[in-house]
């Protein structure tokens, strides 16, 4: 379990983190979401003990990172934004070095082979890291974080620079790891977070703007359900009909035949909408219940944060 409390970090005049608090429970995949420069990496660097916070505390399984850095560090596997690889070492040599460095107490050769199989790098084990492609390097960095089966994994943008197939593989891997480990991973790709995480912490300009379960996220933020419609017919007539439906809050025409309807989230207005349109000349070509996508809610949140 990772508990972050009232974390602040100042770089000189600049306030990089401003009172960040959140908790990642064991067996949970926590997505850390934010635009570039929001403070994601800084937070992760503080949790892993690479940087120290200006104020606030980080506790991992009851150990405080400043009081007991060794205990905390041995519980964390960390994949930084740039994987910390030595280009002049072979994959196997590198992993062997980190195994020794982390003082892992497991059968060495067996464990390294196991980790290499998990991230699928056993075919390049003898190659020099400088000759590997970006995707392979990322995976070697991933392997390094997995060494010693740490209970907490902290991954800073683990899918950057990978091809779509590898991205899906890494996501599946993270999901699988989330069953046994506490995983905190950052991303600025929103669909990735919604596909992999149980919970999302959104951060913007060093502040937390949302901390919710993935499924509940869009509803809480918008406060209302959404319908997407494609309707043939006269625009004024249709708008009138839609606005007349009980529970509808707002109708917007997004394209010539496309409308978005915001309605009270506790009411299902689909049937009423259907009947209302049927009474006009119009015909519903498509109706889709669309909660706000993460992208949309994210934009809303960050705009609100700036106000």
């Amino acid at each position: 379990m990772v508990e972050v409390k009232n974390l602040c970090k100042n770089y000189g005049e600049i306030k990089a983190l401003d009172d960040i608090s959140f908790t990642a429970n064991s067996g949970e995949v926590l997505g850390f979401l934010g635009p570039n420069g929001a403070g994601k990496s800084t937070t992760m660097n503080i949790i892993t003990g690479y940087l120290s916070a200006s104020s606030g505390t980080v506790t991992v399984d009851g150990d405080e990172v400043l009081d007991n850095p060794r205990a905390v560090k041995s519980k964390i596997g960390y994949l930084p934004e740039v994987p910390p690889l030595y280009p002049d070492m072979t994959v196997e040599g590198y992993l062997s070095f980190l195994f020794d460095l982390k003082a892992v107490r497991l059968p060495k050769d067996e464990h390294i082979r196991e980790v290499m199989c998990i991230v699928k790098i056993d075919d390049v084990r003898g190659r020099l890291i400088k000759n590997l492609s970006k995707g392979y390097r990322q995976r070697v960095g991933f392997a390094q974080a997995l060494l010693g089966n740490p209970p907490v994994l902290i991954l800073d943008e683990p899918t950057v620079g990978l091809d779509p197939k590898q991205i899906i593989e890494i996501r599946t891997l993270i999901k699988g790891l989330g069953k046994k480990h506490t995983v905190i991973f950052s991303s600025h790709v929103l669909s990735e977070v919604s596909a992999t995480c149980d919970r999302v912490v959104m951060i913007h300009n060093g502040r937390i703007v949302a901390d919710e379960k993935v499924g509940e996220l869009s509803e809480t933020i918008s406060g209302s359900g959404m319908l997407e419609l494609e309707i043939e017919g006269s625009a004024t007539e249709i708008a009138q009909a839609l606005n007349a439906v009980d529970g509808v809050r707002k109708v917007t025409r997004t394209a010539s035949q496309c409308y978005t309807v915001e309605h009270d989230s506790d009411k299902d207005v689909r049937r009423a909408v259907f009947c209302a349109i049927a009474r006009t000349d119009g015909a519903i070509l498509m109706m889709r219940r669309g909660g706000m996508t993460l992208e949309e809610s994210f934009l809303r949140l960050t705009e609100r944060g700036e106000v």
């Binding site: 770089y11 660097n45 892993t48 003990g49 690479y50 940087l51 120290s52 850095p69 060794r70 205990a71 560090k73 041995s74 964390i76 960390y78 930084p80 740039v82 910390p84 690889l85 030595y86 280009p87 002049d88 070492m89 040599g93 070095f97 980190l98 020794d100 460095l101 982390k102 003082a103 390094q144």
Partner: protein, 234 residues
């Protein structure tokens, strides 16, 4: 610490650095050995060693220049600093890695001693004492080099600054002669590497000289740890 030391030593031999340093060291020591011992028909290696100071001043920066600067540039320091190892452990690992390479260089003197053995009995006490002096002086220079390397991201800057520091150390004796003030001259003489080292080359094992080099080593390793400690907080 052991893991870092092992990797550090290995990295010298993954690249050309280790071989070049060994080669240059052997070349110059061999040359001095030939002229001052074989050619001059002498069993005393004192002049060989006293001439090595200059070579060591140039070689140590080559050994230490990338020790921390390269880690920082490649961001591999993140792996070291987030591993369950203390800062002191990391710095000591780096130091001993570099020191071992330097010690391997110095082992060539034993070979020269064996060559002398073919002709006459070498003065083992003097030779071993001098090698100890070489190691102590090298340790001090390596600590200074590592400290400089920890402050920059560029190997070249680290090398240039370290060689600059080396030249300053080399010139301390001349500076001491130039300065007219007795007080300053005494201080400069006390911190002169040449003076502190020369006792070893005569086979004099003086506690003061030993402590001098050990304290320089300790001070600069301590400062290196502080550099990292400070970076974490800034």
């Amino acid at each position: 610490m052991g893991a870092i030391m092992k990797r550090e030593l290995g990295s010298y031999f993954h690249s050309a650095t280790g071989y070049i340093v060994l080669g240059v060291f052997t070349f110059f020591s061999g040359m001095f050995f030939y002229f001052y011992c074989l050619y001059a028909d002498s069993s005393s290696m004192t002049y060989v060693f006293s001439n090595m100071l200059m070579i060591v001043l140039f070689l140590v920066p080559i050994i230490t220049m990338k020790s921390f600067s390269e880690e920082k540039r490649q961001k591999t320091d993140q792996a070291l600093l987030t591993a369950p190892v203390s800062l002191t452990g990391i710095v000591m690992g780096k130091f001993f890695g570099a020191f071992l390479l330097y010690a391997i260089c110095n082992s060539v003197f034993l070979l020269y001693a064996f060559i002398i053995m073919l002709f006459t009995t070498p003065d083992w006490a003097v030779i071993l004492c001098t090698v100890l002096g070489m190691l102590l002086m090298g340790a001090a220079l390596i600590a200074i080099g590592i400290f400089i390397s920890a402050m920059t991201e560029s190997q070249v800057i680290a090398a240039v600054l370290s060689i600059g520091a080396g030249l300053l150390i080399y010139m301390i004796d001349s500076l001491a002669n130039l300065v007219g003030v007795d007080f300053i001259t005494n201080i400069l003489n006390a911190i002169s590497f040449n003076r502190n080292f020369s006792n070893f080359t005569y086979g004099v094992l003086d506690l003061a000289n030993t402590v001098f080099f050990l304290s320089i080593t300790a001070v600069f390793l301590f400062l290196t740890v502080r550099v990292f400690e400070k970076r974490r907080w800034s």
